[in-house]
C-alpha cells in the first residue's frame, strides 16, 4: 500500500523567460513502512518536490499539473485553508531544508512546541512535551535544556535536530526530511539517522529523505529515487539501484562519490555542469549533454520513465545492460560477482 501517490506532478516557477518547470511529470510512491531516499544534483528539483507534498510551493511557484493522493487526506493539490494546515504537521511531518533557520527567534523551543500542539488540537500537551523531550534525549540533546532555550542559544546541529523532533512529535504517518543532516558532523549524523530509522520502524511511517549524500541515504533507506533536471530518472529498491544502476546519471553519481576505501582513481567527476531551470534541455533527454552513452534519439525524444524488472523504473533510451556493463565513463557495476 502506498501512503502517498504522486502522479504526473509538474511544478513551475516564474522566471524572466516565463514559467519553467522545476519538477516535470514526476510520479513517485511513498510506501507504508518504507524509507525512500531521494538523491540528485543541486537544483534538480528535490526540495520543490518535497514542498509540493505539502502543497507549500512558495510564490512565484505553482503546481501546474498532476495529483498527490495522501491516504486519509485526499488529493493535496486540491486542499486549501484549514484542511491543508491540518495535514501539514498533522498527517505529514516535515523538516524543510535549512529549517534550522526557521525557528521563531522570540520564543523558546518549548513554547513553539506548545503552539504546534495547540494548532493541531492536541489534547494532552504534557504528553506532547514528554515525547519531545524523549526524542531530543535520544538524539543526543539535553531535552530539558533544549526546550528552555531560544534558537540563538543552540548550535546549528542542535537546531537541525530540534526540527526533526518537531517533525516526529505529532505522530504523523508521513515524514518528509529535506537534507536533515547537512549541518552535522559524522557522529551526530549517525545518531540522527539512527533515531529516524527507529521512529520510522516503531510507527510504520512512510518516510522520504532528501539528500545529496548517497552514502548516508544508503545506510537507512529501503528505496532510492534519483532526480535530474526536474525528472525522476531512476528508482527502485535501494540495494538494487546501488549495485546495478541502469541510468547513466545514477551510475555517474555513484562513480563520482568520494569513497573511504578502495582506489582513489576509481572515482570520477562528471564532465560538464548541472543544469538549472533555464539551461535544462527542452527536447530530448535532460542528461544527454553529460551522458557518455547518448545516442542520436536522445537529442530528439525525451525518454519516458517506464517499469522494468517489476520493482524498478528508469527513463533512458539505452538498454539497461549497456549502461550496466558499459566501460564508458565510470567503471562497471562494483561489488557483484559477474
Amino acid at each position: 500500500m502506498s501512503e502517498v501517490e504522486v502522479r504526473d506532478l509538474t511544478v513551475e516557477y516564474q522566471t524572466s523567460v516565463g514559467w519553467l518547470p522545476a519538477v516535470a511529470g514526476a510520479s513517485l510512491d511513498l510506501r507504508a513502512g518504507q524509507i525512500t531516499g531521494l538523491v540528485g544534483e543541486s537544483g534538480s528539483g528535490k526540495s520543490t518536490l518535497a514542498l509540493s507534498l505539502l502543497n507549500a510551493v512558495p510564490a512565484p511557484g505553482r503546481i501546474a499539473g498532476g495529483t498527490i493522493e495522501v491516504a486519509g487526506v485526499g488529493d493535496l493539490t486540491r486542499l486549501g485553508g484549514k484542511q491543508l494546515r491540518k495535514a501539514r504537521g498533522g498527517a505529514i511531518g516535515y523538516v524543510f531544508q535549512a529549517s534550522q533557520n526557521s525557528l521563531n527567534p522570540l520564543k523558546t523551543i518549548g513554547r513553539q512546541l506548545l503552539d504546534l500542539g495547540r494548532s493541531h488540537e492536541v489534547g494532552d500537551l504534557r504528553a506532547l512535551i514528554a515525547r519531545a523531550k524523549d526524542l531530543a534525549n535520544r538524539m543526543g540533546l539535553d531535552g530539558d535544556r533544549v526546550l528552555d532555550s531560544y534558537q540563538h542559544e543552540l548550535s546549528g546541529g542542535m537546531r537541525q535536530r530540534v526540527g526533526i523532533v518537531f517533525a516526529l512529535v505529532l505522530n504523523a504517518k508521513v515524514l518528509i526530511l529535506d537534507e536533515p543532516t547537512t549541518a552535522l558532523d559524522m557522529l551526530s549524523q549517525a545518531s540522527v539517522l539512527d533515531i529516524v530509522r527507529k521512529v520510522h520502524d516503531e510507527n510504520q511511517l512512510s518516510t522520504l529523505i532528501i539528500t545529496h549524500d548517497i552514502g548516508a541515504i544508503s545506510e537507512i533507506a529501503d528505496r532510492l529515487a534519483v532526480m535530474y533536471g526536474g525528472r525522476i530518472v531512476e528508482d527502485g529498491p535501494l540495494l538494487e539501484v546501488l549495485r546495478r544502476p541502469t541510468h547513466p546519471y545514477t551510475k555517474a553519481l555513484i562513480g563520482a562519490t568520494a569513497r573511504i576505501t578502495g582506489d582513489v582513481d576509481g572515482a570520477r567527476a562528471l564532465p560538464g555542469r548541472p543544469p538549472d531551470l533555464t539551461t535544462v534541455a527542452r527536447a530530448g533527454c535532460v542528461f544527454r549533454d553529460r551522458c557518455p552513452f547518448a545516442v542520436e534519439v536522445c537529442a530528439q525524444t525525451e525518454p519516458e520513465l517506464h517499469s522494468f524488472d517489476s520493482e524498478r523504473r528508469r527513463a533512458c533510451h539505452v538498454e539497461p545492460s549497456t549502461v550496466l556493463t558499459g566501460t564508458t565513463g565510470t567503471p562497471a557495476a562494483v561489488g557483484e560477482p559477474a
Partner: protein, 368 residues
Amino acid sequence: MIQARGITRTYQTHGSFTGDRTVHALRGVDFTLPDGGAVSFIGESGCGKTTLGKILTGLETFDGGELVVDGVELSKLRPRQREKYFRRIQMIHQDPYSALNPTRTVEATLGDPLRMRAKETGAPVSAWRERAAELLTLVGLEPAAVLPKYPHQLSGGQRQRVVIARALTVDPTVLIADEAVSMIDVSMRLGILSLLRDLRARLGISLVFITHDVATARYVGDGGELHVIYRGEVVERGLTDEVILSPVHPYTQCLLSAVPVMRGLEEPGPDRTAPTAALDERTPTPGCLFQPRCPFAGAQCAETHPVLVPFGADAVGTDAAEANVTGADVTGADVTGADATEESGHVHACFYPESRRVVGVEVGAASA
C-alpha cells in the same frame, strides 16, 4: 615549509547565564607542512579546525607555541613584517555565504586582489581580466556568466568556487581549505578536489585540508598526512590511508565508524564501534579527553593524560620524562612514550591502542 609547534588557543567567554567559561579551542597542536605537501585535519564540529586554519593565515592569534614559516618564527616578528608571510597563505573559508561581500560583484571581488598582485609582480595591470577568466574556468565556472553577478545570485556551490578562485588570485604558496567542497555538487566535487591535487603537483602549492568528511581527505594527493583532532588536541596522526584503514585511537575509530557505508557496494568494517556517550564539555577530564565517551577506556584513562607516541613502540611509559611532543598538555601527571619526535609515522595518544578495522570495505575486497 610551515612548522607549528604546540599551538594553543584559549577563548574566555562571558555568558550572562553560563558565567565565565574557558574554551580550549586548541590545546597544543603541532605539524609540519613541507613545500608542496598536504596535511588534513578531521574531527567533530567545534574541535578547533577552523581556529587552526585562521591562525595559519594570521586571521587569529594564538596564545602559546610557535609558528615557523620558511625558517622564520612569526611571533618574533612585528605585525608589519609578519604580513608578508601571511599574504601567500590563503584561506578558503568554510562558509561561502559569509565569505563574500554581498555588495560586490564577482568581477570586483576578483579584480582588486588581481590588480594588486599585478603591481607586485610587475605584470601589466590590464591583464587582470584575462586572469580572472582563467581562474574562474579553472574552478569550473563560466566567466562571462558569473563575473557580473552578486553573491546572492549564485548557488552555494558556485559561491564556494568563487571563494576558491579568489584565494588563487594572489598566487598563494599555501592554501588552507576549510570544508572547501562541502556545498559543491557531488558530481563536481571530485573535480574541485583534483584541482587542489593539481595545484600541488603543478605549482608546488602546499595544502592544509580541513574537513569532517574523511573520504574527501583521501583525494588531495600523495603523501598526505591525516591529523585527527578531538577537543583541540591531536589524538592520532599518520599517513591518510594508514589512519583510515588501521586507526588505533578509539576516538578515530568512533569517528570513522560513523562514516556511512555505501550499502550494496561496501560492507561495514568488522570492528565498527561508537562512543558510549554524547559529548559533554562540562565533565572535567583530567585524564584522557575522550575517556567519558570511550568504549575501550581502562583503569589509567580517567587520571592520566596520554600524549602522542608512536604506535608499536611497546611501552607507553609512565615516567614523566619531558614530552618531546610539545603539543601535548604537558603537566607533571602526563606520561610520554618512547620517541615521538619522528615527523612522520603513525602516532597516537591512547593508553590502550589497538588497530581496528572500522571503515566500510568494498564488497568482495574484504576477504582478500
